[in-house]
Symmetry: C2
DNA sequence: TTGACATGCAACCCGAAGGTTGCATATTGA
DNA sequence: TCAATATGCAACCTTCGGGTTGCATGTCAA
């Protein structure tokens, strides 16, 4: 399994791509055509977004005849949650405390 | 509190900015100059990255004389974990199941 | 077998993003 | 008071990202 989260963060940075993930969350296994119906752009633009999602392994593809079915792969999101967000979540209250304290000291001065 | 996660996703998309967050994670409250020492680019470039982090509310700033102290604000990361990642994590096994099943059916055909 | 359908590929356009350099401003401490 | 320090502001350059259009390819169904 890849250990590089960068393509995942990049893929998640665009609202249209998050929207595609949401669409697959609503109904998994949609075709390209179906996904196009939910975004206000050309099929080619949607294809490009899906390519990025595939490269980040957020979406997996299965061909059925001439149709391309898209499936959500939750593993990279899980990896981000585990390896990245978890770290900050663990120190959350400490960081908030630092911030509060700094603001108070600033007020004094 | 802002409810818009887009600037947060955008801010997290760049490796240099994630690195800055990591640096503040290591030692909270660093000055601009200190943060510059940890990235291989000009001070102005670092400033630009920090502006994006501030706009996403991931970093809060306190001025102490001529020094600008940077503090981690864990709230937006928490928001992403709660409102966005949590949703996918909850359906994680279901999505993996869909994917596995689709791959098997593809194999049959 | 053929036309309609689902998708791929490639060139192109434009604005945004990341970086640089140069200069201005404010604070500090000797 | 003045030089060094810490930072801001603005113009500029190049690359990348998101979007389009046009055409090619492969599959299905009548």
């Amino acid at each position: 399994m890849s250990n590089d989260l960068d393509p995942v963060f990049k893929a998640l940075a665009d609202p249209s791509r998050r929207r595609l993930l949401d669409a697959l969350f609503e109904r998994n296994g949609q075709t390209l055509g179906e996904l196009c119906g939910q975004l206000d752009m050309t099929r080619q633009a949607v294809t490009k977004h899906l390519v990025l999602l595939e490269e980040a392994q957020l979406v997996a593809v299965v061909w059925r005849g001439r149709e391309k079915l898209h499936y959500l792969n939750p593993v990279p999101i899980h990896a981000i949650a585990e390896r990245w967000i978890g770290k900050f979540e663990r120190q959350r209250l400490t960081a908030l405390g630092d911030l509060k304290k700094a603001l108070e000291e600033d007020h004094d001065a």
